[in-house]
Subunit: 200 residues, 2 copies
Amino acid sequence: MTEVATARRSRITPEREAELYEAVLELLREVGYDALTMDAVAARTRSSKATLYRQWGGKAELVAKAVRHGKPGSSAGEVDTGTLRGDLHALTLRSDDCEMEQNSALMRGLAMAVHGNPDLLKAFKEHLVEPEMAEFGRVLQRAVGRGEIRADSPAMSFVPHMMIGAFAARTMLDEQPPTQAFLLSYIDAVVLPALGAPTT
Amino acid sequence: MTEVATARRSRITPEREAELYEAVLELLREVGYDALTMDAVAARTRSSKATLYRQWGGKAELVAKAVRHGKPGSSAGEVDTGTLRGDLHALTLRSDDCEMEQNSALMRGLAMAVHGNPDLLKAFKEHLVEPEMAEFGRVLQRAVGRGEIRADSPAMSFVPHMMIGAFAARTMLDEQPPTQAFLLSYIDAVVLPALGAPTT
């Protein structure tokens, strides 16, 4: 970034920046990446397109930044209930149904765009997928330590696919967003038995 | 449809129609629904936009028709190997890796569009999801009949989510399309144990 650009950038307050990113995420959920236009962002945030382009360069950069900004990460602190079932349920219950619906819409809105946009894919993975997966990893390691599951369980490496997959498949198959109730039954019926872990 | 439109419609041969639908599916896989334009379809199929609009009315109708036309259905005949594992493997091996990559790209290209386009959602479900799911249902029922799995296994109703979910999550998590090898290990590591079925 040139010095001029840096100087210009500082004209936007962090609050205003956060507002802009939230508006971009809203639009992504509503219409998806391809249909999201800088005109729509400008209209919704009552800013000028010139400002948006000067500040972010273009749609791809703006969207990647918004994704990076959007997720607060695991701010709720470590989950540790003493059982794998308890931990997986607790992780699920940290997002209410409204947040799950929003995340599911965001995933859908980005699914096509992350292909062929490496920067956006990186932002998507680093900020939406990996923090979640790291938490599942910690919870599974503790279950291995307690002897609830075997370290060499073949299902272990598929836990992310089971969880993210159920999340993604729910909307596609049942025409409704994933909910806490759906994911809790899925954990009990599929994830725990696949891992050979106690289901009660 | 008016009589005039019917008469006009008949000017296109079934071969030409099939060619057009295949081009639409190709474009859907490459750029997704939102970025697919009638201009691009016209260019790729060397037809005029006027013809496309006269014939199909618009993009939504053309894409829904292409989806309905695309999948040949379960032309490969009933699968019945005598075990659940054998049947699930056989169903997986009916699509080669290239077809799986194509189906995964098509799913991605349609994921956003099916929301808010009921006709497209209907075409997507009836022609891409349900025939596959009906086959899984038949295979599971036979496994219940043979006593391999219990009829009241809680995992039973989640088999579509496990399979479609793994398919969808593979690209998102591992940046590679689902392959036969991936799905066969997933069936052995996740689907069969979740159902309480023999894994060898």
